[in-house]
Subunit: 138 residues, 2 copies
DNA sequence: GCCCTATTGGTAATAATTCCTATTACTGAT
DNA sequence: ATCAGTAATAGGAATTATTACCAATAGGGC
């Protein structure tokens, strides 16, 4: 939690019990919890916490780079897995899964320079069958 | 418009004035209009059209593959440009722009097979500076 | 402990999208 | 062209994720 308290201080934020527990609960989740799901988990430990505080907390945690915000579908999801990885949305079961590996050949962002674009980063979303659904198909 | 009337019929949908004009107006837009912007444009020609009809129309047009739905940020945008292209979100001016070219090296989707994923398609979002903002920086 | 002020809890507001229903209007058959 | 069956529409209400507001609270530097 040192990275949290120091990260917060560095930006003039305060280290609150709420923010600490929000981070702990996001890290506990294997998958990609929504704000509401994190709220429900935190509420067990802090029964009086409000949904707004969770949204605000997730915002600063994202800003500090301690979690990732994954925008897909009708609501945002959050990800404590900071390793470089992409996401696959299963066209069969609709799950959002980690593809735990960077690209075998990283995207060449220089190719866009000829068109005047200065690409800083990119996001890849894969669509297809997750391992479970792929197996069921065969 | 033949592709529209036949496409609709093929799926058991009806060819309505509203759907025809919605498609025409999406095609008129250079950039990536929101449902509301399309509604405003269509409303000039069909003053009584309702927003719900525009949403429904955009839905079937997307389903028929006559337009693309671009989900990014707080609202969906629509795209009549069916050529294979990616999008760049400018980190300076926040615009969503076409990068009118496929990748010089298409993503090798087979590399994910080893992990059990059956990738059918993928979407790449680029973040960086658009040509205008890139020029202003130098 | 004291003070300053960032943060919180509770609640209202916002806004994109979907849902509901009586009425309208495509479309295939007569 | 008329008709009947039903998909689609207009208009409005409902839903829902997220943000805004504000009086009360609590970090943290002294
Ligand atoms: Mn992930
Ligand atoms: Mn485009
Ligand atoms: Zn699946
Ligand atoms: Zn720009």
């Amino acid at each position: 939690m040192k990275e949290l308290s120091e990260g917060l201080r560095q930006e003039g934020y305060r280290f609150t019990r709420q923010r600490r527990i929000i981070l702990e609960e996001v890290r506990k989740q294997q998958y990609h919890p929504s704000a509401k799901e994190i709220y429900d988990a935190v509420k067990i430990r802090l029964p009086n916490i409000s949904l707004g505080t969770v949204y605000r907390g997730l915002g600063v945690l994202t800003e500090l780079g301690l979690i990732r915000k994954v925008e897909h579908g009708e609501y945002a999801r959050f990800d404590a897995n900071l390793a470089e990885h992409h996401h696959l949305i299963c066209t069969d079961c609709d799950q959002l899964l980690d593809v735990d590996a960077p690209l075998s050949e990283p995207l060449n962002t220089q190719q866009f320079k000829a068109r005047g674009f200065e690409v800083q980063r990119y996001k890849i979303e894969l669509y297809g069958l997750c391992p479970t659904c792929a197996t069921e198909r065969s």
